[in-house]
């Protein structure tokens, strides 16, 4: 027993033979008000020494439960109904919580999804890394800091010494995730669990983190379990992949085999749902381009100076606040689908809010011959003809109203149909978004995320608008649901001839749908082009970087 805690070098021979992690026939359930709910069923998973295994599944598939089971950090209502989890041959289910505390961080560590919540905001970064080293490797404070500096340098942070003295809020999202990764690698563990480590980051940073992961893996020969919902991304980093669906592993094998020759129906469905930029599913572009809405030099300034500030401190007032968007010129044509792409904070949602009349703006908004110079001018006719669909379907439907009331409201408000025909029209609209008509009697919480988003889309189309703005409507949904919602949107566009502004950060998806694409960066419109020109040479450098950063799934290349 003493051997196992000795430095890795001495028993290197024995551990090369044993796989880093073996999970055999493992099952897990949660005790809830409705009795035992099974989360994982008969899971078998092996991670060889120096191997990276991907675990792919949609939300609720049990992939996070798996991570917590391996870390032996389960909630009190978890019931393990059998099986084995072995770390380098040792049965972890038998370990006491105390033994596990020694193993976590030294022999096994974890990288979480959101670096801004996994670092303690009140402790300096250096201290957070050094703590792990002092606790598990018995280094002195000075040694630990020196080692931490080296660890940070290895993750590509340019000034590691400076970073050690900073607080988490003084580092960017990418830097924070590098710190978390440096901490995870600090004690040279045998196994690292990555739980969606790039989901909370923007595309370019995510790309860098993936490269870093690949580089560190080669240097350290660590074994890793990589959990993700993103097939394209997983295909880039792992050797073997297991696809998990409703707590059961439906398929596993080498990554090329699984993606090129999927055996299970679910895997095939999952791969088919991944957006492929070369497969066009949008409607035909309008034959004669006719401008519907025009944004003319539109700017939005958050924290704009008050009248008092302008009066007394005219100089300061020019620099106060922050431009959410500045000098944006976009025209939207009748019947087209315009994609707006950008990272978080690029100003794409600000533009959506301006178009929906929710945000005060400078500049001019032209619609059907009318010009609005500020938000208060926008009239009801405009509000009827321009509808907005929000990102989070949970938040955009009033939880106390029934679906029928929610969809029926625009019908009544704008008098689209006579009062006695509202119920019939609601049923029609539900059918249009492929939901059963009796959903009208339900409340939003009785629906799944994808169904709720369909309701929100039905509400937007109920007003029979000329333009529907979709603000990241697929971002909160699973891949397969995402594809269905995108297809639904295209179908509705085909049927009604409505123009659509589709705001997203997913370039692969938008290249399937949009006729023209606008790229935003730091509140400015940096590029605006027709879809076929996406790869042409006169694209902006930022557009090119974005296009190169997007992982195209293996299956799509093949």
């Amino acid at each position: 027993m003493t051997v196992s805690l000795a430095p890795v070098a001495t028993d290197a021979n024995s551990s090369t033979e044993k796989p880093a992690l073996v999970i055999r026939n493992y099952s897990l359930s949660y005790r809830t008000d409705n009795g035992l709910v099974s989360a994982l069923k008969n899971i078998d998973l092996t991670i060889g020494k120096g191997q990276t295994v991907g675990l792919v599944g949609e939300s609720g598939s049990g992939k996070s439960s798996m991570a917590w089971s391996v870390m032996r950090y389960l909630p009190p209502n978890a019931v393990e109904t059998g099986g084995a989890i072995r770390l380098a041959g040792e049965e972890m289910l038998d370990f006491s919580p105390r033994q596990m505390a020694d193993i976590r961080g030294s022999r096994m560590s974890m990288v979480f999804q959101d670096p801004s919540t996994s670092l303690n905001p009140t402790i300096r970064i250096g201290e957070q890394i050094a703590e792990v080293l002092m606790r598990h490797r018995g280094l002195t404070k000075i040694e630990a800091y020196a080692y931490a500096e080296a660890a940070l340098a290895r993750t590509g942070i340019t000034r590691p010494k400076e970073m050690l003295g900073r607080y988490p809020h003084e580092a960017s999202g990418g830097e924070k995730q590098r710190v978390v990764i440096a901490t995870a690698f600090a004690c040279e563990p045998e196994l690292i669990i990555f739980d969606e480590p790039t989901t909370a980051l923007d595309i370019l940073t995510a790309r860098q983190i993936l490269d870093l992961f690949n580089q560190l893996r080669e240097e350290t020969n660590v074994s890793a379990l990589y959990i993700s919902h993103d097939l394209g991304l997983v295909s880039r980093v792992v050797d073997e992949v297991s696809v998990i669906h409703k707590g059961v592993i439906v398929e596993s094998g080498p990554v090329q085999d699984v993606f090129r020759r999927p055996k299970a129906d679910y895997t095939r469905q999952l791969i088919g749902a991944v957006p492929n930029p070369d497969r066009w599913i949008g409607v035909d572009a309008p034959a004669v381009p006719e401008t519907l809405v025009k944004l003319d030099d539109v700017g939005v300034r958050y924290g704009a100076p008050t009248k008092l500030q302008k009066l007394f401190w005219p100089k300061d007032s020019e620099t106060t606040g922050f431009w959410g968007a500045k000098g944006v010129n976009i025209d939207i044509r009748k019947g087209e689908l315009l994609g707006v792409v950008g990272e978080s904070g690029s100003g794409k949602s600000t533009i959506a809010k301006v178009l929906a009349g929710l945000q005060d703006f400078e500049g001019r908004l032209e619609f059907a011959g009318k010009t609005f110079a500020n938000r208060k001018d926008i009239d009801r006719a405009y509000r009827r003809r321009v509808q907005l669909v929000f990102q989070h379907p949970d938040a955009s439907l009033n939880p106390r109203q029934r679906i029928g009331t929610i969809i029926g409201r625009p019908l009544k408000l704008y008098g689209v149909v006579p009062a006695d025909k509202v119920a019939a029209r609601v049923a029609e609209l539900l059918e249009m978004v492929r939901l059963p008509a009796d959903y009208a009697k339900r409340y939003p919480h009785q629906l799944s995320g994808g169904e709720k988003q369909r309701v929100a889309i039905a509400r937007a189309f109920a007003a029979e608008p000329d333009l529907v703005i979709c603000d990241e409507v697929t971002a909160a949904l699973d891949v397969s649901v995402q594809a269905a919602v995108a297809e639904l949107l295209v179908k509705l566009q085909k049927d009604t001839g409505t123009a659509c502004v589709f705001i997203t950060h997913d370039l692969n998806l938008i290249r399937q749908l949009a006729h023209r694409i606008a790229v935003m960066h730091h509140g400015k419109l940096v590029d605006f082009f027709d879809r076929p020109d996406a790869r042409s040479d006169d694209r902006d450098a930022y557009t090119k970087a974005l296009l190169d950063a997007v992982p195209v799934p293996e299956a799509a290349i093949a």
Binding site: G357, R383, A395, L397, N398, Q401, L413
Partner: protein, 272 residues
């Protein structure tokens, strides 16, 4: 419902509340004696077979007096809270919905009022209005208004920025529709929970005013007044102070625990 009763707080609260409400509704009917009937031979007695909870300085049956006082005491708490919550919510909703300088003005004035302790504020109002049950009730209601306005405002503020409200704004809905159909139904639960807890404070303040002689007047059987009247005889028969005192505690605790349990049950962040 089963989930609500799974916590001991909810069970105890509901039980106490049931007893108190039973006394408030049927107390006068089930009381064994006339609450004002003197029994000169049995003064200041402890509990016995005839007088279950003992007698006071005039030989009046304490059980009958407590049961007869229940409707007045509980009704006082409920009505004072209802009026306070009503006025407070209206002010709070106005402040929360309008925002800007209207909100700032209203809230700064309320902040000033909140700085005065509830009881002191009530005493001040009673001094101006004069004593008596109705005035005491009004005083408690007014004292509750600033606190309730604050809670209503924060409830409205948290709902006001939700996407479904923004969706209504984007549709071009009228302000009235947005407030009544989108904001209020979703802001209601914190207000309901808070008012349940407030009933217990109202009962206690009402009893305190009675004790100080500023609320109900003799020969009323209001519980606070009963304590005040029996105070001189406290050492000869502790029962005549303890019984009305415990009744007040029971009513207050019942509403308080019930309110707590209701909050836990209604607040999705606390229940899993």
């Amino acid at each position: 419902m089963r989930k609500f009763f799974s916590s001991p707080t909810a069970v105890v609260g509901t039980l106490l509340l049931a007893i108190v409400l039973f006394a408030a509704l049927f107390g006068p009917l089930v009381a064994p004696f006339d609450p004002q009937e003197f029994h000169p031979v049995a003064r200041l007695q402890g509990p016995s077979a005839t007088y279950w909870l003992g007698t006071d300085q005039f030989g009046r049956d304490l059980l009958s007096r407590v049961l007869n006082g229940a409707p007045a005491t509980v009704a006082f708490g409920l009505f004072a809270t209802a009026i306070g919550v009503g006025i407070g919510s209206v002010i709070g909703v106005i402040a929360g919905v309008s925002g800007g300088w209207v909100d700032s003005t209203i809230m700064r004035i309320l902040d000033g009022l909140l700085a005065v302790p509830d009881l002191l504020f009530t005493l001040l109002i009673v001094t101006v209005l004069g004593g008596g049950m109705e005035h005491a009730l009004l005083a408690v209601a007014i004292a509750f208004t600033p606190g309730m306005a604050r809670i209503a405002r924060s409830a409205v503020l948290s709902v006001r920025t939700r996407d479904y409200v923004r969706a209504a704004v984007a549709r071009g809905e009228s302000g009235f529709y947005i407030v009544t159909f989108e904001v209020l139904p979703n802001a209601l639960s914190p207000i309901v929970v808070e008012s349940t807890i407030r009933v217990s404070f109202a009962i206690m303040i009402g009893a305190t005013l009675g004790f100080l002689g500023l609320g109900a007047q003799p020969p009323s059987t209001e519980w606070g007044l009963m304590v005040a009247e029996a105070r001189q005889f406290m050492f000869r028969n502790p029962w005549c102070v303890a019984i009305p005192g415990l009744s007040i505690a029971m009513a207050a605790l019942g509403f308080n625990l019930f309110g707590d349990a209701l909050r836990d049950a209604l607040d999705p962040r606390r229940s899993h």
